[in-house]
Amino acid sequence: MAGVKTDQDVITYRAAVAEGIAREMRRDPSVVCLGEDIGGAGGVFKTTAGLFEEFGPGRIWDTPISEQAIVGAAMGAAMTGVRPVAEIMFSDFLACCWDYLANEIPKVRYMTGGQVTVPLVIRTANGGGLGFGAQHSQAVENWALTIPGLKIAAPATPADVIGLMASAIRSDDPVVFFEHKGLFASKGPLPPDDHVVELGKAAVVREGTDVTLVALASTVHTALAAADTLADDGVSAEVVDLRCLIPMDLTTVLASVGKTSRLVTVEENPHQAGWGATLVSVVVDEGFELLDAPVRRVASANVPLPFADALEDEVIPTADKVVAAVRSVVNY
């Protein structure tokens, strides 16, 4: 088994990445991985540890340091029937290969009238909180959301890493898979071998009646922490883990808002053009009558990520900020 399990039934988020990939590689010989330092080094975040040893250089391709080529070649390889899993080391570097993400890969099916598909996954370490500075810390899931034709997954737990990885690799659509750097050390139950989480199915991870918190990846944990605090105040928060931005599970969100009548999004991407803006616009359009209070968005400040820990901590949403936002809508 690839990855290092901490004990029989628990796995880290980090090891879950390699485990999720390994399960699909065992199942489907057409799955290959390519990227920088993913082979013998096991990935700079150790998220591909063990894959090279198990699958060898024929299926684990250590590549030159060329982000455009990693993603561009993944597209070409996908045209031959291979299912590439390409790694871009830091999600900030998606900007280095944006032509392929924005102009090439998501357009193949459309521009060929459905005759060609490029099933591939672009995995990348996303998000801040580790003091990596302005160019290695951004939460850029909203970048991908601007491009019709891409699917976007961003798991919050080790089990979801494995389950969503299975769906992403099996998907005939290109999927951008955001692995959160701040969650790599987190632990959770190791799911069974056949564990698959369908893309576009949100999870209600905490039930509540007074407010709906919609969160993604790291902010699921922020929202859960806020919900604990709010419970002490007698406010019952429901937490929805969106899991994917595309497909966006608006059915689950609207059902939850129908129950709570209040909505707060918790996003790590900047407030400007963050994913919550799209989600909220649909909720107010489709579910205006469900709402009893204004909608609030808690997102990162509209600034680059500062290097100083003391500043970074203020830019990224905290449980306290979520609590404050919830109080403002509950008391509306």
Binding site: T80, Y100, E104, Y110, M111, G113, P247, V282
Partner: protein, 374 residues
């Protein structure tokens, strides 16, 4: 027939002079011997291809001028580079074109109406790249070189190289594209992975208005040396030499011997696209000089001199070209606009909530006009 020999460094591999004199063989610097050994029927076939490809291209330019196409990127002047390389491909080989490869498309057996659907803006697709082994036209300069690189890596992984019937991949691009970072990344990758890939650069001397000296200080084919694989310059207006050089490079690739950069030295006789006016940035005498190196005239001179074809043949080819271009025009004018709701097709195969909702609302919106004057 001239005897041939080795071209001095920097000069072209040429097997048919502009005057139509055939050169028996040319030996490249690595010892590869290039020669054109065609039957009379095959020579006539190449001539027919060149004439038809030029005629169809002229028809498309005319259609654009008459407002029937949105834009057209003419291949005028590059017929030999495209027919020579296109005919050198074996059926199993995969080609990654730019938006100007109408001649290669023709050689792949694709109905020339198909690209016109795209340029007319009525098509949501076109030929099947897998069926014809010819990818869709790539508009973003140079991007197809990386698609081809990945495709070639897939070919290697599938174990389809190393034998005479192996697969090879060819990536087309222009002189301007060689300045793109991704094209250079493709060179690096194809080199280090020893990919079965032929880089076919049609150096037509201009990237829209910018001349070659704005892209490079050295002849383009010599760049290959820095990436660790062979580079060769061929007379791109010579269909025989282009065929021979491309076939050799493809066979080199299919045998698992790695990539080659071919610089097909040619000239874009027309505009970059129908939106461009080349008289603003180049002089008439330069165009006239290249006119004398016309790729079709020299084949005709050769066929006549060697008595491989007679007047009746040339007339018959002209007649066929005329017939095919008329047929093309008729079909272009009859192309229906696609149904508006099809704009939502093929974004996600199984739908996506945001797109599905838009489609639903769009259908309702359209239905609201039913029975009205619209």
């Amino acid at each position: 027939m001239a005897k041939g020999g080795s071209p001095p460094d920097g000069e072209l591999v040429q097997l048919l002079t502009p005057e139509g004199e055939r050169i028996e063989s040319v030996t490249g610097s690595d010892g590869t011997v290039y020669r054109a050994d065609f039957t009379d029927e095959e020579y006539r076939g190449l001539y027919r291809d060149l004439v038809i490809v030029r005629k169809l291209d002229a028809e498309a330019t005319a259609l654009q001028r008459q407002g029937e196409l949105g834009i057209w990127a003419s291949l005028l002047g590059q017929e030999a580079a495209q027919v020579g390389s296109g005919r050198a491909l074996r059926p199993q080989d995969m080609a990654f074109p730019t938006y100007r490869e109408h001649g290669v498309l023709y050689c792949r057996g694709i109905d020339p109406i198909m690209p016109l659907g795209l340029f007319r803006g009525v098509d949501q697709g076109g030929w099947d790249p897998n069926e014809f082994k010819f990818n869709m036209y790539t508009i973003v300069i140079g991007a197809q070189t990386l698609h081809a690189t990945g495709y070639a890596m897939g070919v290697t992984m599938d174990g389809k190289t190393g034998t005479d019937d192996g697969e090879a991949v060819i990536a087309y691009f222009g002189d301007g594209a060689t300045s793109q970072g991704d094209v250079n990344e493709a060179f690096i990758w194809a080199g280090v992975f020893n990919s079965p890939l032929v880089f076919f650069c049609q150096n037509n001397q201009y990237a829209i208005s910018e001349p070659l000296e704005r892209q490079t200080r050295i002849p383009l084919y010599r760049r290959a040396g820095g990436f660790g694989f062979p580079g060769i310059r061929v007379d791109g207006n010579d269909v025989l030499a282009t065929y021979a050089v491309t076939r050799a490079a493809l066979d080199h690739a299919r045998l698992g011997q790695g990539p080659t950069l071919i610089e097909a030295y040619t000239y874009r006789m027309g505009a970059h696209t129908t939106n461009d006016d080349p008289t603003r940035y180049r002089i008439a005498s330069e165009v006239e000089a290249w006119q004398a190196k016309d790729p079709i005239k020299r084949v005709r001179a050769f066929l006549e001199r060697e008595q491989i074809a007679d007047a009746a043949f040339f007339a018959e080819v002209d007649e066929q070209a005329k017939r095919e271009s008329l047929h093309l025009r008729e079909r272009v004018l009859e192309m229906p606009d696609p149904a508006p709701v099809t704009m939502f097709d093929n974004v996600y195969p199984n739908g996506s909530p945001l797109v599905d909702k838009e489609r639903e609302r769009f259908v309702e919106y359209q239905a609201s006009f039913e029975g009205s004057a619209h």
